[in-house]
């Protein structure tokens, strides 16, 4: 088996003398993966590497320079059974012990001075920890390097008639980030989405999707299920809207539509009339449409407004899976977030057209 990322790492290591390994995964003495990045990035990179290579960690040993509780939870989530480190926090030890992870450390400290470590002090679920760490990593990366954002809104002002709907809104959203925008009715949530989409031009400021010249190829839009479509149109035709301008052959388009419906778990609905679908089914079809489009950013306007509690849970779970597996950026406008598990979501609110953060990523 070839490990492209691994080979790249080794090349980097051999050509740059300052490259310092802080994390290394090996099996039977041979290195599978190494990284020299700071914070928890190496473990996140390793997670992605293993998923892309389709590799498991059976019989592997991990070297990680410093292991705190956050790292321990990520290591457990990867199913690694043996860990070697230079420094371990006492908060990490119960996590390893609970999951029968063998560890060796040169030194033990009470705690590691890190905000993530504090946030995860009471967290035992490796999946919840992973979502939170991943979201913090994306947000930090977007803030540090705006050119690597999935979406950039800078100083946008939108005016309708003599009323200013949005006041100098600035928002940077990272690749793979999940952003929740809340606010009361008329606060400007939908206006912001439509401005990003391009249907409402701003009088000042700019909206950019870095890396692409045509915004449309990256932005997938899902509106409320209540959009009245009482005309005969099949679910397959709705998904095919995503490839309307693809400029490829019919066979390619058909395949793309099928793949998208499969990914959104709505293949069985393909030949059903759209208006005979339930609210949850319609939203899955809408997501499939965005996947067929190849959208990297999903803009969702009150997508769960007409769903019951179970439907909402399933829909949010689908979004989280897509964000994780496909590195999709999700921007969701909603006023129904109280019952939602917001771990891994950044949350901002709009009030009278101005944007303010509610909390950093949990």
């Amino acid at each position: 088996m070839r490990y492209p990322m691994h080979e790249e790492r080794l090349r980097t290591e051999s050509t740059a003398s300052e490259y310092r390994i802080v994390l290394q995964l090996s099996r039977d003495g041979s290195r599978l993966f190494t990284s020299g990045r700071p914070w928890l990035h190496p473990l996140l990179e390793l997670t992605r590497f293993l998923a892309e290579a389709g590799e498991n960690t059976e019989g592997c040993e991990l070297y990680d320079k410093i292991v705190g509780r956050a790292a321990a939870l990520l290591i457990v989530r990867l199913g690694i059974g043996s860990v070697r480190t230079d420094l371990i926090s006492r908060r990490a030890i119960p996590v390893f012990d609970a999951h029968q992870v063998a560890w060796r450390s040169a030194d033990v400290v009470d705690r590691i001075a890190c905000r993530t470590e504090e946030l995860l002090a009471g967290e035992d679920d490796p999946d919840v920890a992973y979502r939170m760490i991943r979201a913090r990593a994306i947000a930090a990366e977007a803030a540090a390097s705006p050119e690597r954002c999935a979406l950039r809104v800078d100083g946008v002002r939108v005016v309708r008639g003599d009323q200013t709907i949005l006041h100098d809104v600035t928002l940077h959203v990272g690749r793979g980030e999940k952003l929740l925008i809340t606010g009361s009715n008329g606060a400007g949530k939908t206006t912001l989405l439509k401005t990003i989409l391009g249907t409402l031009p701003p009088v000042a400021g700019s909206v950019q999707v870095p890396g692409v010249t045509d915004r449309a190829v990256r932005l997938g839009y899902v509106n409320q299920e209540s959009v009245a479509v009482t005309f005969p149109i099949s679910a397959r035709e709705v998904v095919a809207i995503g490839v309307a301008l693809a400029g490829r052959g019919r066979r390619w388009k058909r395949r793309r539509v099928e793949d998208a419906m499969q990914a959104a778990r709505c293949s069985v609905l393909a030949d059903r009339m759209y208006d005979s679908l339930s609210g949850g089914e319609k939203q899955r079809v809408a997501i499939a449409r965005c996947l067929a489009q190849g959208a990297g950013v999903l803009l969702l306007d009150e997508p769960t407004a007409s769903l019951d509690a179970e439907g909402k849970r399933e829909f949010v779970s689908l979004l989280e899976r897509l964000a994780e597996e496909r590195d999709m950026t999700v921007v969701m406008v909603t006023h129904e977030f109280d019952a939602m598990d917001r771990s891994g979501w950044r949350h901002v609110t709009i009030s009278e057209g101005a944007l303010c953060p509610v909390e950093s990523v949990r």
Partner: protein, 287 residues
């Protein structure tokens, strides 16, 4: 009975018949645009603008079809500009033009002493009065409509589905919408020449309505509309010949009867199925 159809030996009658068949097969596709994009009010405005154009043409001795098409094109451009600027609700502006154009049309008919017979032809149409130029224009325009539907089908689906969604996938929605309204306007001019202003819905709307009742996809809707349109045109022509009626009346009466029959069949067939679908959806959602 066969003798009744010997009129087809005459060139104007045969020409009118062929154009009617072509219109029956093609123009119901445009009826789907009218229904889906809710252009009912705009259809009246375009009809009145076409009437105004025809009245002007009759007053100055020009071709009513061409001047009607010109008047409709001007109206479409005006509406597109207003829609783009979002100065006012389009419905408001359309209603304004709808009333203004019909007023001007009758004022011109009165002022220029257009003969009652000619005026009635605008309202009733006459397939036998089509000139070879009219017929060729209909053929060319029919080809444009079919090409537009076939080649731009994915884009049409997007615009039909939702404006914002269409924009999100990169469709230039305003351009497509304006093109559709222009096609509707020109179609109205052609159909008015064929069967007249008062009976235009028999070719434009009724087949589309029947198709909407039967089809289970948008592609199917267009195909059914064309099939029903051809049936209305052919059946109406035969009915008119047999009953010794004007073709426009025959087409309209036959179309209305076919519409009623299709509705009865569709309702009796789909009711139990719809109940099952609705029960299944509920059980899925709340399972």
């Amino acid at each position: 009975m066969i003798e009744a159809f010997s009129v087809l030996r005459y060139a104007p009658v045969l020409r009118g018949f062929l154009v009617l068949m072509l219109s029956g097969a093609v123009f119901p596709l445009v009826g789907i645009f009218v229904l889906r994009l809710n252009l009912i009010t705009m259809r009246f405005a375009l009809m009145h603008a076409s009437l105004l154009g025809s009245a002007i043409a009759l007053a100055v001795g020009a071709n009513p079809l061409l001047v009607g098409m010109g008047a409709n094109s001007l109206l479409v451009i005006a509406i597109a500009r207003i829609r783009g600027n979002a100065v006012r609700d389009v419905g408001f502006i359309t209603t304004f033009f709808m009333v203004l154009t019909i007023g001007l049309a009758f004022a011109i008919i009165y002022r220029f002493n257009v003969s009652a017979n000619d005026s009635l032809q605008i309202l009733w149409g006459n397939i036998y009065a089509m000139t070879p130029l009219d017929a060729w224009l209909t053929v060319v325009f029919g080809g444009i409509v079919v090409s537009f539907v076939v080649l731009r089908f994915p884009v049409i689906v997007a615009v039909f589905f939702d404006r914002d969604v269409a924009i999100s996938v990169g469709v230039r929605e305003s351009l497509v919408y304006t093109t559709i309204v222009l096609i509707v306007g020109l179609t109205i001019s052609f159909v008015m020449r064929l069967i007249g202003a008062l009976l235009l819905d028999a070719i434009l709307i009724l087949p589309a309505l029947m198709a909407v009742s039967c089809a289970r996809s948008l592609r199917g809707t267009f195909i059914w509309a064309s099939v029903f349109g051809t049936m209305v045109a052919l059946g109406g022509f035969v009915f008119a010949i047999l009953a010794d009626l004007p073709v426009s009346s025959g087409v309209t009466i036959f179309g209305a009867l076919l519409f009623g029959g299709v509705q009865l069949v569709v309702r009796s067939r789909t009711r139990p199925i719809q109940r099952v679908i609705s029960r299944t959806s509920e059980s899925n959602e709340y399972a």
